[in-house]
Amino acid sequence: MLRRIKGGVHPHDEKKSTDDKKIAVLPLPKKLFVPVHQHIGQPSVPVVKAGDEVKKGQLIAESADGRGTPVHSPTSGKVTEIGNYPHPLYGKSPCVVIESDGLDQWQEGLLTDRSWEVLSAAEMIDIIFKNGIVGMGGAAFPTHIKLSPPKDKKIDTLIVNAAECEPYLTSDYRTMIEYADDVIKGTQIVMKILGVQKGFIGIENNKPKAISLMKEKCKGKKIEVVELETKYPQGAEKMMIKAILDKEVPSGKLPMDVGCAVQNVGSLKAVADAVEKNIPLIERVVTVTGRTVKNPVNVMAKVGTPFTELFDFCGGFRGANGKIIMGGPMMGMAQVSLDAVVVKATSGIVSIADNEVDLKEELACIRCGRCIDVCTMRLLPNVLSILSEKGQHQTAQTDYNLMDCVECGCCYYVCPSRRNIVHYIRQSKAKNAMLRNAIKTGSK
């Protein structure tokens, strides 16, 4: 049965140019700029210094506050510098610069061959933590925290997010096709860790090959493949749970509050690699695509690879670029330069041609109500944008559910007045956060 969500939009999926392309291996870059800030929260702290020799998979940064994730060297070589370099999400951020020695030599003790079935849940969580695994769907939430819910939250269902609803991106799709066994293994591992009996894999129905392959692989296991309508933002965590279990995560709560955990396909592959082979998260599948890219590809890229290397691998550009986006075009981050690097959350890099960039003038809201019809969180996006424009950020929060917005961008996508509603909403959220901080520090 096809599962649907209410609201949402149907942007052109643009996946044709890469969905049949096998995951290629990127030639080893000469220099890697590995950011130590790879997850939500405080950046990790480098444990190597300039001049150190490192091996592939060696720990190079560890969590400052115990809640973050460690970072590992993606290749063997020499640390030349620890300095600030462009990060795709955080402007300039501390990076460990590694000059590759061209040997790509693994550190000893890795590449083990052990079975997940003999390991206990606690052992596996420790392995996942030590190997620096984060949510690879884009949010980069540390996986070991997600897998250790508080005692009073009973989790009974695991949902594998394989919707990949963002246009252009095919990295999750290729991962499912080429690493199907690893994905299933990762799912079983996470199910064992959480102690859940039921797993679901949600896939949008524009990926029939992945659906049939996953169905075949799941035979005889407690995992069910669920076909979802192709609609953005089907892959949003809350929408996934709504479509598959028909449960609504209460406002301000987390999936664990309805007994759910949601994991991205890429993260599960990383979990399987970590648990069975002790391989840390040092490389990931990245879709490099867009109208101006000569040969769009899916590529296995090492964390810290500059975007220039990836575009070079694609044969460079044809025509002028307007924007370079890390992530999909609906929620991705526009990049300042091509000097930014691949991080653990980079699911794709999309180029938008100069003539595709739409900088039409923003008009007044004409109250057409389309944003309300498409809002999956059932808010009043137009009202929020107007309140933000007028500086009434507090009213937006108290009376119009500002904090429930997931910033999926459907409202902007359909707005005939081209109001960048999401931008207004982010502005309100930021202003309110500033105000809260000011009150907090003022009262001390």
């Binding site: 942007p11 870059p29 500059p306 070079d312 370079i324 075009p329 004409i366 057409c368 429930d404 999401v422």
Partner: protein, 359 residues
């Protein structure tokens, strides 16, 4: 910014555009919506020129030119960007013309246009901020100022025989023969007189459906207006619920309360078909009650709005002083729109069933 040593030798873009996400948009825009609505009104507008001749065309051009010129003048004066090309002023002018009788004195459309654009739209802040439907404000304004001129209706030239060729031959004829509208006859002389004036009930329905009756420019051809409205529904520019509920409400209540035998009310004997096809109901339901700016935001709110419009229309038609009430019903409901929006809105995702604690 430091440049990195890299083996890559691609041409780096000199400048990149940085905006907040999302980075893609569908193809809709306000301008596109406005011009398409204009286009869907065009068949009915052309028909009215055939039906009433050149005077209709002159009224129409006066309204459109008046509205556009007024908008341009105000925006020039306010030193803001002149947005006549977005089609919204043209649409207001065209809708306004559809509410006026053909051959009315030249200054009436001009005054109505100034009232519509100058008072109803720009004193409120321009497109998107007006509370009342500008075209209807324009009409109401001249209705109050020139009641005689506004109720001197041109008579159809096509006539009962649907003689298009004859009407086409007379298009350039400036003389306008005036007479009463079907709803006017109904109000003053009763139902039987109205049916007799058409020579039978089926002839009356046919005449009303095709549009060869007297009336304002846009309240004659039901079929062309419905076709235009259907295009808007298919393009999802309007919601089908609004015209259906508004027309349905009028049909229901006129059927229940509209029938009179020897001057006494007899329930369930009214003629809903007559009430649907005559007057400004069709154009009101498809083009005015669906105006985005002046109607509620949510579908549920719009349905309530449409029901209110239908109800007030029936009250005015059956019990009020005017034969027709669509214009005033929509204006009255426009006034209620902010109130409807305050009470009807979607319940947010993941709402908890706990009591609201709003201080």
């Amino acid at each position: 910014m430091e440049t990195k040593e890299t083996t890559a030798n691609i041409q780096k873009p000199e400048k990149l555009v940085i905006t907040s996400s999302p980075h893609v948009h569908n193809t809709e825009s306000v301008t596109k919506i406005m011009w398409i609505v204009n286009l869907t009104l065009l068949p009915a507008a052309i028909f009215s020129v055939i039906n009433f001749g050149l005077p209709a065309l002159i009224t129409m051009l006066l309204c459109i030119a008046g509205s556009a010129a007024c908008e341009a003048a105000i925006q020039y004066w306010r030193k803001v960007k002149v947005t006549v090309s977005d089609g919204s002023a043209v649409l207001t002018g065209l809708l306004l013309a559809m509410c006026l009788p053909a051959g009315i004195a030249w200054y009436v459309p001009v005054i109505a246009s100034v009232a519509a654009i100058g008072i109803a739209k720009h004193t409120m802040g321009g497109l998107g901020h007006n509370v009342f439907n500008p075209a209807h404000i324009g009409r109401a304004f001249v209705m109050a100022s020139y009641p005689v001129a506004m109720t001197t209706w041109a008579v159809s030239r096509i006539g009962n025989s649907a003689d298009f060729a004859g009407a086409m031959g007379k298009v350039a004829d400036f003389d306008v023969v005036t007479g009463a509208t079907p709803l006017g006859i109904l109000k003053q002389q009763g139902y039987q007189a109205l049916v007799d004036s058409f020579g039978g009930q089926s002839a009356m329905y046919k005449a009303l459906f095709i549009g060869n009756t007297g009336g304002s420019l846009g309240e004659t051809s039901a079929i062309l207006l419905i076709l235009g409205g259907l295009v808007l529904v298919i393009k999802k520019y309007i919601k089908w619920q609004v015209p259906v509920v508004m027309i349905g409400t009028v049909a229901l209540f006129t059927w229940i309360f509209g029938g009179k035998v020897d001057g006494k009310l007899v329930y369930f004997t009214g003629d809903p078909v007559l009430h649907i096809l005559s007057g400004g109901l069709i154009i009101g339901a498809f083009f005015m009650a669906t105006d985005m700016v002046t109607t509620p935001l949510t579908t549920q709110g719009q349905v309530l709005f449409a029901f209110g419009c239908g109800l007030i229309t029936v009250l005015i038609r059956l019990y009020g002083g005017y034969p027709e009430g669509v214009c005033y019903s929509i204006l009255l409901m426009n006034a209620l729109t902010p109130l409807i929006d305050r009470y009807i809105f979607p319940k947010k995702f993941g709402s908890l069933p706990e009591p609201v604690t709003r201080s």
